[in-house]
Symmetry: C2
Subunit: 372 residues, 2 copies
């Protein structure tokens, strides 16, 4: 009868055994097959029998054991999201916003989210574990870099996944993203057509693809307008919070020719506002920013002063889980989803000077975003 294991291990939890499909079958005088099929909506169960089963299940409090279901169906209805465990990562309000959207969507779709963290050095091993131990059906990947090894791995493992954001590859895969390039290109063009000749762009960490594409967009818009490269000053904040917004704005305004500020995040824009104010009333600086609709910060005091590219990160989170679940249910490659964004103009800004209408709602493929 087997000696004890060396490690402490598996003390069975003292759970009151719950009611099984067998109990319900016995209670109703039906086979477990019929119970199962009645509950799963098969058409070969009579209507009154189905009602009896449903009522009986409610009465006895029968709930299918999900682990038995998962074992036989090979589908867990779980998806994994792995965060890097470095001190800074978790404090990012953008992450929390996407998370809220993912959870809301997962609830509606009857999926559960397995959230995990791993230190960068072991990051891939946790993907390896989830891929091989059958505990999740798919993956959410956040903040991709330009050629992200997580995507390499998941593509080669043939597992469903959706990236929030995009990396540069041209293969088909699941992603949800705003049109970073198009939006920042148009925004910059707008600034230029409003007469600005020197623009400071306060961007995020360009190790991440989103920041890289935004930089390219701003740069291209400047070039396409016939301005010299020196018309653009780029500043990067490696951390989404802290005093970078203030400091970089202060730095940017050291150049007296700078008349327009573009921010990659409303957090930095708001912090930077203090620096703009403090720089004195002699400066009339135009401010534009990405507005991710962070619940974290109240942007209403600034809405008339900031021109904004507006897009909801919660919506993005919901779209991420929706596409992931779609992939789990339909064979075939992942799809890209562009989250619409709107332009909200600061008072006194005229958006009509653009040659083309502003891209209020616009869909386009990842291919169209490649710079020429």
């Amino acid at each position: 009868m087997g000696r004890k294991p060396n490690q402490p291990a598996a003390t069975p939890a003292a759970l009151t055994r719950s009611v099984t499909i067998k109990d319900l079958a016995a209670e109703l005088g039906l086979s477990i097959t019929t119970i199962s099929r009645a509950l799963n909506g098969y058409s070969d169960v009579g209507e009154k029998t189905r009602r009896r089963v449903v009522d009986g299940a409610a009465k006895l409090g029968y709930r299918p054991n999900r682990n038995a279901q998962r074992l036989v169906t090979r589908r867990t209805h779980n998806v994994a999201w792995v965060q890097q465990d470095n001190d800074r990562k978790f404090v990012d309000p953008h992450f929390v916003e996407v998370l809220a959207g993912v959870l809301r969507g997962a609830r509606a779709l009857n999926y559960d989210l397995v959230l995990a963290s791993e230190i960068p050095a072991h990051e891939m091993s946790i993907y390896d574990r989830y891929v091989n131990d059958n505990s999740v059906d798919g993956f959410i990947v956040d903040l991709p870099r330009e050629n992200d090894k997580r995507l390499d791995y998941l593509l080669s493992a043939h597992r469903p996944f959706v990236v929030h954001g995009r990396d540069g590859r041209s293969e088909d895969y699941g992603w949800v993203d705003i049109d970073n390039y198009g939006n920042f290109y148009n925004l910059t063009r707008l600034m230029i057509s409003n007469g600005h000749k020197r623009i400071a762009f306060i961007n995020g960490d360009e190790a991440f693809a989103y920041a890289l594409w935004r930089h390219r967009a701003v740069r291209d818009a400047i070039a396409d307008a016939g301005l010299a490269p020196s018309a653009l000053k780029v500043f990067n904040s490696l951390h989404p919070m802290g005093d970078a917004g203030y400091k970089l704005t202060h730095l940017a305004l050291n150049d007296p020719k700078v008349t327009a500020l573009i921010y990659s995040s409303s957090l930095m824009a708001v912090e930077g506002h203090a620096a703009v104010v403090r720089s004195g009333m002699d400066r009339n600086v135009a401010v534009a920013t990405m507005d991710d609709e962070l619940h974290y910060i109240d942007l209403t005091p600034f809405t008339s002063q900031f021109t904004r590219i507006r897009s909801s990160l919660r919506d993005a989170g919901e779209a991420v889980i929706a596409e992931l679940v779609r992939q789990c249910n339909e064979p075939g490659p992942g799809r890209g989803v562009v989250i619409p964004s709107t332009f909200e103009l600061a008072q006194g800004i005229d958006g009509t000077v653009l040659e083309h209408p502003l891209p209020a709602k616009r869909r386009q493929t990842s291919r169209r975003l490649q710079p020429a």
Copy 2:
């Protein structure tokens, strides 16, 4: 052979069948029993056989199917954490901080976190689901109210759970908390003994137990020092962020007799600092605050100006998951864990005037926290 179900349902995912224990047994010419026991560290497997099994498993890439394991062992190695899905909740940096700790601890203990959200109206139904469908072993509960219905339910369901914070009940249950009452009592006493005669307490939402106990502590310290109840002005912020810190501080300073400010959160203390500064140099106000070691905000510019009760929310998160896993493995009631906190004094503050030494590290039961 069964008609199709009415709902779309279960398209089987096209997964490459993974290697099972049977495959490994066949490869090595051993029984599956031996494989299982070798891998699980039982002592009735010969040493060279065990090595053969371990090597073979590595070579074939064998990973036990977790759902099969969960089915037979009745333990999932999953714990659930349900957040309320109201717009404000997710943006709270305190939550994210605890989350980071929980995830770090879970990783070390080989558990996974299932994170879910639910709108308040349906909040209990999701607990009901997790309790009855065998998808988790236990629960994390955050931000308890005074008589929290979630605890009622989980106690009656006899499921392991750990609360971050405490509610008022006297039964044994798992919780992790700082000594809110003791810390705020001592802090207030310190302020009083440093000569302050009118104190403003800028607290959180007293619908939550932590804020309630802090209020009681401050109030009791005032009374025990022989001051009139009017010596205390309490302000409550219902939201952890936004401009409440500034506004309430401004309000508090309307009373010219107020010379000391106590904050329940460093977020509000930092925001409030602007109001203190703006109120003019004529006011010499002492500031004390809870310091949860939020990575979200950099408190170093203020460390010499704020007296702080310092305690790490990440440590608390790690303790939560540790206690929860302990409960899953050992039968018996949950335990309470007090997270130590330290006092860090602002420059010029003398802590020695207290009758008793400051409670740098101190353990006490929930009973001792009841007010007399």
